[in-house]
């Protein structure tokens, strides 16, 4: 399939997915369902953006929640304090997230795995501490309450729950389409090369620092979009959105859904949010049940759901290819080169 036709195919799938999402509230006309999808949009974008780092670049960030929290708070603060439209606040939030990602990424991306993981976590906890300490601006541990104004734009009224649902679904689809395009681009394959063999890439002329920084900044920008959706959903911002557990949840989503398949984190987000909603209704010991389920995946499948399915398909395909290759070699075998002749 040519590059143009694969892009067209992805775009058609995205449009179809959006139309299905738009129709679903008519089939499931409950506020609970639309709320679920809005939360799914926020976490789906966030977890998929983290997987740009974890799954495609081999950069295990423990602090990606920095951008979720930053997006959430920046958007809410701009909307509460400045008379700007939602698109302007959206773009300003992304711009600030990119700036922060450039600075944090420049410090972190060249570090080896464990140092990268914990330094990114440290930066996230720095933001969390700032939020807690800077009460006059951020509301401290109470969060940014009082709601955020949602002036209509382009006929979209985000104070209407169906409009918010459509807006969040649209963002989810657009962000997934954009991120899928990125991982299928020449840049996406360079990320895979660095992930597979970081010591080989420089000897092919690849500036690993530059490529990793680009990936980190892109992931940060998309992570902030997740935060913006969450800010619109809760009509404010809370310190929990910048706490380390938010990064942990995104990692759980990737582990549950799979990191080698693009939609794995989204599937993981569906699973984790459903588990969250179901288990919290049944028991107050939510953490124990969830931990048990994560262990089941980690020790049982040793991979996410989509990884499991994809690996079975890949193994079968590779076995067929190898068998075909052996037959070709056998058929075309010529007398071996005489050793040392």
């Amino acid at each position: 399939m040519s590059a143009r036709s694969s892009l067209l195919r992805d775009s058609l799938i995205a449009i179809a997915a959006f139309l299905v999402l738009a129709a679903l509230p008519y089939i499931f006309p409950s506020k609970g369902f639309t709320d679920f999808v809005v939360r799914l949009a926020a976490f789906g974008i966030f977890a998929t953006s983290l997987n740009l780092l974890v799954g495609y670049s081999g950069m295990e960030s423990f602090g990606h929640g920095l951008y979720f929290g930053l997006g959430c708070y920046t958007f809410a603060l701009i909307m509460q304090n400045f008379a700007v439209s939602i698109p302007v606040a959206f773009l300003l939030t992304i711009f600030l997230s990119i700036l922060v990602a450039v600075v944090v990424g420049s410090i972190c991306v060249n570090l080896s795995e464990i140092y990268f993981a914990f330094l990114t976590l440290a930066f996230q906890m720095l933001l969390h501490s700032l939020i807690i300490a800077w009460t006059p601006i951020t509301g401290g541990d109470q969060g940014l309450t009082g709601g955020i104004p949602r002036p209509p734009f382009l006929g979209i009224r985000l104070d209407n729950y169906y409009h918010l649902y459509l807006f969040s679904s649209g963002l989810l689809v657009v962000c997934l389409l954009a991120m899928h395009h990125i991982v299928q681009s020449p840049f996406g394959y360079t990320l895979r090369m660095i992930r597979d063999n970081v010591s080989r890439a420089p000897f092919l002329g690849i500036n690993v620092f530059r490529v990793r920084l680009m990936a980190y900044v892109i992931a940060g920008a998309f992570g902030a979009v997740g935060g913006i959706v969450m800010s619109l959903f809760v009509s404010g911002a809370f310190p929990d959105f910048a706490y380390w557990t938010i990064s942990g949840e995104a990692i759980f989503m990737i582990m549950l859904g799979g990191l080698t398949v693009f939609l794995g984190p989204l599937v993981g987000a569906v699973m984790l949010l459903l588990l969250n909603d179901v288990v919290t209704k049944l028991t107050s010991h939510y953490g124990i049940v969830l931990g048990g389920i994560i262990l089941l995946f980690a020790l049982g499948l040793r991979k996410g759901v989509l990884d499991f399915v994809a690996d079975m398909w890949r193994d079968r395909r590779q076995a067929t290819l190898s068998a075909e290759n052996r037959s070709e070699v056998a058929a075309s075998a010529k007398p071996a080169v005489a050793a040392g002749e």
Partner: protein
């Protein structure tokens, strides 16, 4: 043309490369030999920027490249393959080679288009054909045999259209038949691409069969250099590396 002048590198007081000066004419095929620990791989690491030399110059067509980073050195025309094949295990042979082509053509950070870029396919196909990997294009690299992984490693370096190609023990870990097939492939690549090829090798039958000149390192120093005939009769080389048995067998 690659000229090494007084190249030195020490690790904690141990001189891995000690005042090495060597010359590799354009388009030549040279072997670097020596006992284990002689500093052969360190020598390659210094040329390719993996290590920064303590002193000395590395002149590529008269320009000093000592101390530059690996990507900068690659851009100036030096490619290398490794003793233990360094490949991209989850990528297919085709995708790995095309990834190297796009890096070489400065297309590796392109986001606005889809992989693979059609204008790069010809180069990838040419290199796969040179390396004898065309029939394995769709196989994921980690599923290749050891020999094919070594070939892929070399092909990745060859993609870069290097002026100088460094191969660190291209036949390491191979059986005799596979070893000669590899050497045939390498020799064919050298003939077709006309680059300066320098290889480290422990199998003296290979070295003396294909190398135009041989450089012998011992304890980080140049012990001898010359044609294969000169080296196999060199008393110091026989004493330090080849041994009397080799001399008797090849007398």
């Amino acid at each position: 043309m690659l000229t090494i002048e007084n190249l030195s590198k020490s690790f904690g007081g141990v001189a891995a490369t000690n005042d090495v000066s060597l010359h590799f004419p354009k388009g030549s095929l040279s072997a670097v030999i020596g006992p284990n620990g002689a500093g052969k791989t360190t020598f390659f690491n210094l040329i390719t920027g993996a290590f920064r030399p303590d002193k000395g110059r590395i002149l590529l067509d008269g320009t000093d490249i000592a101390g530059l980073s690996p990507p900068e050195i690659v851009r100036r025309g030096i490619g290398r393959a490794f003793q233990i094949a360094r490949i991209f295990p989850t990528l297919t042979v085709h995708d790995a080679i095309l990834g190297a082509v796009q890096a070489h053509r400065h297309q590796h950070t392109v986001i606005g288009r889809r992989f693979p870029l059609p204008e790069l396919e010809d180069r990838a196909a040419h290199v796969m054909q040179l390396a004898g990997l065309t029939s394995k294009a769709k196989i994921v690299s980690r599923n290749l045999s050891h020999g094919d992984q070594k070939l892929l490693d070399i092909a990745l370096a060859l993609v870069l259209e290097p002026q100088v190609l460094l191969l660190d023990e291209p036949t390491a870990g191979m059986g005799p038949e596979e070893r000669w097939a590899m050497i045939d492939t390498v020799h064919r690549m050298w003939e077709l691409e006309r680059m300066t090829l320098i290889f480290i090798e422990h199998d003296m039958s290979i070295v003396f069969k294909i190398a135009q000149s041989v450089k012998v390192l011992s304890y980080g120093r140049v012990l001898a250099e010359g044609t294969p005939d000169e080296i196999r009769r060199h008393p110091e080389v026989i004493k330090a590396y080849l041994g009397d048995e080799f001399e008797a067998a090849h007398a």
